[in-house]
């Protein structure tokens, strides 16, 4: 049996209680809202994208421990990355949380985000862990057009 501690690791609980970048950005180029109607989780992700690079990112909103910690750690790990790098990181993250329990994860790429590897044992919670990421992606998509016309 999977232990609940695999899911609710100390680092996750810490981030859910004291999230990083939990504020409205003063200077934003793009924002997006994400909503999970199943449980009512709702977040806004604020992005400041300059020359294809996420120069700053923050979030606001309310939701469960998993979704909030995920949003918090996401903002810390993508700040300073290019849009492509952030997208690639999301792909790795998504592969990990949707993967088969025990399958290899790309620890080098994911860094601290591996703390979410336990999510794959709780399929109902995949949506919680990925909500902020999907929201950020939606925000970045909005940025694509102006970026590509430059």
């Amino acid at each position: 049996m999977t232990d609940l501690r695999d899911l609710y690791q100390e680092l996750i609980l810490d981030h859910s209680k004291k999230p990083c970048n939990f504020r409205v950005l003063e200077k934003t180029s793009h924002t997006a809202e994400g909503y999970n109607p199943l449980c009512g989780d709702r977040y806004t992700v604020y992005l400041n994208i300059e020359g294809g690079v996420i120069s700053d990112i923050s979030f606001q909103g309310a939701g469960c421990a998993i979704s909030k910690a995920s949003a918090s750690m996401m903002t810390s790990s993508v700040k300073g990355k290019t849009i492509d790098e952030a997208n690639m990181l999301f792909e790795e993250f998504h592969r990990m949380i949707c993967g088969n329990p025990g399958s290899r994860v790309n620890e080098a790429a994911l860094g601290k985000l591996v703390v979410f590897s336990g999510v794959c044992e709780f399929p109902i919670r995949v949506k919680c862990a990925s909500l902020a990421w999907h929201t950020m992606k939606a925000g970045m998509e909005k940025s694509k057009e102006p970026v590509s016309t430059e």
Partner: protein
């Protein structure tokens, strides 16, 4: 068949002592299951109840020995299936004490029942500028169909407020009525709060203003004895799956005088008496509202559920569940930081709560691993969440097969949630 002493005696006060819960539990095969190695404690009964073997077997027997289409075949099986199906209509009539079985229409569930009334009645009798009264505690299925109707015909939705206990305030409800009010729709029992509304009084008030009333009985049918004639409601809807019957079937009750005047909702087979390309004559009640091949097996399962409840007795069930609710309320109230949402005087067996700083979804996950199934979320009643300023609640909803021991398992699991998540 279940036979029960207190059901026979009808002694409400004594029912909780003699209520043979362990015996009834054995009728529900799913309850003996273990999840994650722990005994299943099923506390999501407001979402759907489990099914007793009597219901499962009735459906099985129908498919094994009776299956035929109804109201059409000239052969033995069809006749038998038709008879069985129509017998259930009579059972349901008796269950809710309707005057005539013509007033019992089989639908897919409470949701479809409300949509039939909002479209068939609403589009026939309401005009632009008319007002429809609902309440702040409605399930989305008793909000959205009325919003759709309002958009279609230019009517206006009025919402009766609720107090901090989660009760309708009769005086505030009365104030909403005016000469434009043409319909009222109200839950008999709230799914998110457990509140039992004083529907008889409210219906009387509405009728004084010549306003017909639909009651959403989805959460009442499993817990209370229902008498639509005594309540004098114009329409009543409920779902079989919330009262120990199968999914996919439910009941719309309507006063015959209204149903006669209302046009069909669906067109098709069975609901006609003659069809030419120029003109179709509709069938008589209740068939006018039952187009197409219905969920025959589902109706037969519903009949078995009604028999099952009848044998235990709704009064005995209600008395036992009230005892369980009181015990559960006292037990979880001892947990520090736990706040119950929905503290009405009159309540059915529903406990919605928030637990200091913990999100209901996380509580739900921890409880799940302890074998305890509860609901976490907005319970299809987002306006209620907004009213109580919470994004979601955790909800334990009980049935007569739940026990005080299970309440203690819930309590322990909640302590575990605090331990893991704090």
């Amino acid at each position: 068949m279940v036979q029960h002493k207190s059901a026979l005696l009808g002694h409400q006060k004594d029912a909780r002592f003699s209520f043979e819960v362990e015996r009834y539990r054995k009728d529900f095969p799913i309850l003996s299951q273990r999840v994650y190695g722990k005994p299943l404690v099923y506390l999501d009964n407001a979402a759907t109840t489990q099914k007793p073997r009597q219901v499962i077997e009735a459906i099985d027997a129908y498919y094994r020995t009776e299956n035929a289409n109804i109201h059409r075949g000239v052969f033995y099986l069809s006749e038998r299936a038709t008879k069985h199906y129509e017998e259930v209509r009579e059972k349901v009539r008796d269950f809710i004490h309707a005057a005539s079985s013509k007033e019992i229409i089989f639908v897919r569930g409470a949701t479809e029942g409300i949509n039939v009334v909002s479209q068939s009645y609403g589009r026939t009798f309401l005009k632009p500028g008319d007002e429809i009264i609902i309440s702040h505690m409605e399930h989305h299925s008793n909000i959205v169909p009325w919003q759709i109707l309002c958009n279609q015909i230019g009517a206006r939705l009025r919402v009766a407020p609720i107090n901090d206990e989660g009760e309708l305030v009769v005086g505030d409800y009365a104030k909403l009525f005016n000469s434009k009010t043409k319909f009222a729709a109200l839950s008999h029992v709230s799914n998110a709060l457990g509140t039992v509304n004083p529907v008889k009084q409210l219906i009387q008030m509405a009728h004084e203003a010549h306003v017909p009333v639909l009651l959403d009985g989805a959460q009442a049918a499993p817990h209370l004895a229902i008498d639509v004639q005594d309540l004098d409601c114009d329409f009543y809807v409920f779902s079989a799956h919330k009262m120990y019957g199968p999914t996919g079937v439910g009941v719309l009750y309507g006063k015959q005088a209204w149903l006669e005047k209302m046009p069909p909702y669906h067109g098709g087979g069975d609901m006609i008496s003659s069809v030419t390309f120029e003109k179709t004559t509709y069938n008589v009640l209740p068939y006018k509202f039952e187009a197409g091949t219905p969920d025959i097996a589902g109706v037969i399962g519903l009949g078995a559920a009604v028999d099952y409840l009848h044998a235990i007795g709704m009064n005995a069930i209600q008395a036992y569940e009230q005892h369980l609710l009181m015990f559960a309320t006292q037990t979880v109230s001892k947990i520090k930081g736990l706040k119950i949402i929905g503290t009405a005087q009159a309540k059915a067996c529903v406990l919605s709560f928030v637990l200091d700083g913990l999100h209901p979804h996380d509580i739900g996950t921890v409880l799940d691993r302890e074998g305890v199934a509860i609901r976490a979320g907005h319970h299809c009643a987002m306006p209620i969440m907004e009213r109580f300023k919470v994004p979601a609640t955790a909800r334990a909803s009980f049935a007569f097969y739940n026990t005080t021991e299970e309440v203690l398992v819930l309590e322990r699991a909640l302590h575990r949630a605090l331990e893991i998540l704090k």
